[in-house]
Symmetry: C2
Subunit: 218 residues, 2 copies
């Protein structure tokens, strides 16, 4: 098969499918039609049929989808059937919340090590995960399999970290610094920018007023 | 002016413009052409011109944009020139990281109160913000101006919270529960789903392998 890229909107919807299908399974539902699933997920039935057809032929006309089959397929597509190893850099509140997040482990994610520069934190354990000196990161990455590095440090520290990560086998950066990182093309960067998210919400709730005031001034 | 809606992709890009323009100002840059800004932000010059023209006429042909003017306009558009009041529900690690986030205050956001159900936490203060019993939320919302409620509780608790928020004057929910919330149309919901984000990254780094294995089995 050719190295076929999957479109970004479809990728973004996969985790959501996974969540809804998991909930249905938990409630012992076995089959669902595209229109029922569409209603539940607030999508259109044709969008669902189109998304799922990207990956194969799941539905039987008039009989709906087998939820378990669909769930396992989406799970496989998301790479959740193999263990993905994560190192966390920065053990502030955000790093702590990642290391203590309850549902990562049963989704196929495993934290292997945490790093910080704070001497008070180095050598401690969080939820069973050791905190090492961030100076040891390059050595650690050269001797251990790490798939993803989560960066929760301030943005000024992140630039140097990306350089070190770039010469390792790490394939993904989970970026919480609220600034874009320049990583080589072989490394995917997924951003979680809390300030941007809050600003977007602020715009949404004030949109009407803002645009009215704005047009008056023009 | 009519209640003109702004397209989602433009909204999503506004915080990013705000960040880059702020950095340029910090570095004493005063003017920039659309092509220079495009290069910096990894967009095309025509996209930048199109985005900015949605909100007015900023550029002078051959002379570029005034960064300060543009910065202030984006700031105003994002509603950052007025104070937005936020209450945080759930004072776990995630709630703590929000309450301690350094850059919210100087972006026009103010935390007014935190809520939790844990008796050990009720009555304590975090970064100057009092933690109240979540049972007092409805009363608090009826007597105080709160624009946004951040929900960092488990998803089972969130459903009941949304009901209580729905009868208040709150206009936005910042949702960290990793599950979709059913809120009335007058309330905007902005989701930050960490598990979804990590699954997306997992798919990206495994995409090639996943699709190859997947096509072999078909």
């Amino acid at each position: 098969m050719k190295d076929k890229a999957v479109s970004k909107p479809v990728i973004s919807r996969l985790p959501r499918y996974y969540r809804y299908l998991g909930d249905l399974l938990d409630n012992d539902v076995q089959r669902i039609s595209s229109s029922e699933l569409a209603k539940l997920m607030n999508l259109t039935a044709s969008q669902i049929r189109q998304d799922l057809s990207t990956f194969g032929n799941f539905g039987v006309q008039g009989y709906g989808y087998s939820i378990e089959h669909l769930y396992n397929t989406v799970k496989e597509l998301l790479g959740l059937d193999t263990m993905t190893k994560i190192a966390v850099i920065g053990v502030g509140n955000l790093g702590l919340s990642l290391l203590n997040y309850p549902s990562f482990l049963n989704r196929g994610f495993e934290f292997v090590m945490a790093f910080d520069s704070d001497k008070e934190k180095i050598g401690t354990e969080i939820n069973g995960i050791m905190v090492k000196d961030v100076a040891e990161l390059p050595l650690f990455l050269s001797y251990n399999d790490v798939d993803i590095v989560a960066i929760t440090t301030p943005k000024d520290a992140a630039k140097d970290l990306v350089k070190k990560i770039s010469v390792s086998n790490v394939r993904g950066i989970w970026n919480f610094t609220n600034s874009d990182l320049e990583a080589p093309a072989k490394i995917y960067v997924e951003n979680v920018f809390l300030t941007d998210s809050l600003m977007k919400l602020s715009f949404q709730i004030n949109q009407k007023e803002i645009l009215e005031n704005f047009s008056k001034k023009k």
